[in-house]
């Protein structure tokens, strides 16, 4: 699929913006701070509801305004119109999602329809950061492929916070510990489902990851393994473990096992963790490879090509790796790059492309090529 048109209103430093993209390759070029990434951010919100920069919606609204709006016309077999509007009220931020003019009131029904994969400098956190960066990355990919997974995650979060609140109440206010029984039952059922989906996903994903890593880097590709705090995806076993750990959980006021504690481990054949030996460039390569593999697995599972958004990523990789990545990605996907300099080395690899320059902040003009 590809974005044909993007409209934004009161979004970051844009009062209004209307862009028409090429279904092939697009470059957005301009100095630091002029608003290049903001354009990709609008596309990522239209795709993922949330921003890839993980900001609060209130910060995205243009200063001194109280709402933003963005929409995209996306070509696939048919044209589909995606719209996200966000407004501030006295005490809350309200978001509205629409597909083809019809309001969508659940994230699970919206997410996974406009498929994008974003490559951006913070991707390195998936490799270097705490386990929640990795869980968030894999959860977002699995959810694209499987709407029931996203729904289960939502239910699970509520069950987990209910259970944790109850654990604290048992400790602090002397509530009856038997009240945990029903929450343990609900918890283990949802946890089992989520872990099961993660395990079968990672079995497919790790092969793609290793393949692409060796292809891009020509050194030993790390393996990815799911580290499971409950040691099983069987609901009965998880329930039993929760019962065994109940005293401890009450003491700490939190749940010690479950998908919220699990991690994805990258390691070499000697079982040494990737982050304990890999160089800066190798980590960067691993982060990029995660995204390349995401593109491919989404394409295989959904039979649709994602729109590739590249936020300034090229400046950080050597020429050999750059061209390898472009080779893997250039299979007919639409691509939108941002960069500070018009980079002839990178550009000559592409046949036709469309360029945009952002000059004075917030004004975009089309390059004639």
């Amino acid at each position: 699929m590809y974005v044909e048109e993007l409209h934004v209103k009161n979004f970051r430093n844009y009062a209004r913006l209307h862009l028409t993209f090429s279904p092939g390759i697009n470059f957005i070029i301009g100095d630091n701070g002029v608003g290049k990434s903001n354009i990709l951010e609008a596309l990522s919100i239209l795709s993922n509801i949330k921003s890839f920069r993980n900001m609060h919606d209130a910060e995205i609204i243009k200063w001194d305004e109280d709402s933003y709006f963005c929409s995209a016309v996306v070509g696939d077999n048919d044209d589909t119109i995606f719209e996200v509007g966000c407004g501030l009220t006295a005490d809350a931020v309200k978001k509205r999602l629409k597909i083809d003019g019809k309001e969508i009131n659940s994230a699970a029904k919206y997410y996974g329809r406009l498929l994008t994969v974003i490559f951006s400098p913070p991707d390195i956190n998936i490799i270097n950061g705490t386990p929640d960066f990795r869980r968030r990355f894999f959860d977002s990919v699995i959810s694209k492929i499987d709407g029931s997974y996203l729904e289960a995650l939502g239910d699970f979060k509520r069950i987990l916070s209910s259970r944790n609140k109850l654990l604290k109440d048992i400790k602090n206010t002397g509530r009856d510990a038997n009240q945990l029984d029903v929450w343990d039952a609900l918890f283990s059922e949802k946890a089992g489902f989520i872990i099961g989906r993660r395990l079968s996903f990672i079995a497919k994903f790790r092969r793609l990851f290793q393949y692409h890593y060796s292809n891009i880097a020509a050194d030993e590709a790390p393996a990815i393994r799911y580290q499971c705090s409950s040691e099983s995806d069987d609901s009965g076993r998880i329930f039993q473990k929760l019962t065994e750990l109940r005293k401890r959980d009450i003491l700490f006021g939190s749940t010690s096992i479950g998908p919220q504690r699990d991690d994805y481990i990258l390691e070499n054949q000697k079982k040494i963790r990737f982050t304990n030996y890999a160089s800066q460039g190798q980590r960067r390569t691993a982060a990029v490879t995660l995204k390349v593999s995401e593109c491919e697995i989404v394409e295989v599972e959904k039979n649709k090509k994602s729109i590739i958004l590249m936020d300034d990523i090229f400046s950080e990789l050597d020429e050999k790796r750059r061209s390898k990545i472009i080779d893997v990605l250039q299979r007919g996907n639409q691509m939108i790059f941002t960069m500070v300099h018009f980079d002839p080395v990178a550009l000559h690899r592409f046949g036709g492309y469309k360029g945009f320059t952002v000059e004075t902040p917030g004004t975009v003009s089309e390059l004639s090529v």
């Binding site: 259970r163 609140k165 109440d169 009240q179 029984d181 029903v182 039952a185």
Partner: protein, 200 residues
């Protein structure tokens, strides 16, 4: 600034009601202004009467004119069947279908740790008594399919099973997250008919 302080006051009162914004509030206030005085008086009286003269039924926890509600009084109803609902509004909704002939039990809430609500805050004592009386054959759980609804259903199944009473739950032909309150008659009837047994 409104032209009349009385008008202003009523609009403010109306807009505090659920589902009523300032626009509808002023529409209602102007409508009341246009009504004959005796109509307005009887409307006001109906509201005060409702508040002053109703009780919580000592058997089912529903709304009643005296200690026991009309449904619990009605000898023609099937006393071996109890339908458990979250609040008294749900009784009205299910009665609206005209299909259900059993009794009710109103919990007045759902188990919700995040809101600090535990089983001890629900109307459960009389439910246990009713189930232990020997007259009840089946308890139908008609709670919303939210996490709290699920947790409450599981809890009730554990509470009621020891009495040798069959526990069933309505089939959720209701879309996930949908309240019974907003379902149409046909959907409610279908979900009552398609109820499934809970074994745990």
């Amino acid at each position: 600034m409104k032209s009349s302080s009385y008008l202003d006051a009523l609009i403010k009162k109306f807009s505090k009601l659920p589902g009523i914004g300032t626009k509808s509030a002023s529409r209602l206030a102007f409508h009341i202004l246009s009504m004959p005085t005796d109509e307005v008086e009887s409307l006001g009286r109906a509201m005060v009467d409702l508040k002053k003269n109703t009780f919580t039924c000592t058997i089912c926890g529903g709304i009643a004119d005296s200690e026991v509600c009309a449904i619990c009084h009605d000898d023609a109803r099937d006393r071996s069947l109890i339908c458990v609902v979250e609040d008294a509004k749900d009784v009205l909704t299910i009665e609206g279908t005209g299909e259900y002939r059993g009794m009710y039990h109103v919990l007045a809430g759902l188990i919700s740790p995040l809101d600090g609500v535990g089983p001890e805050n629900l109307n459960l004592r009389t439910l246990a008594q009713r189930c232990g009386s020997g007259a009840v054959r089946e308890v139908i759980l008609a709670l919303n399919p939210s996490i709290e609804g699920e947790a409450t259903s599981l809890y009730l199944a554990q509470l009621i099973n020891p009495f040798g009473v069959t526990v069933t739950r309505i089939a959720h032909g209701l879309p996930v997250g949908a309240d019974i309150e907003f379902a149409d008659n046909a959907t409610i009837i279908k979900s009552l008919e398609g109820r499934v047994k809970i074994s745990r």
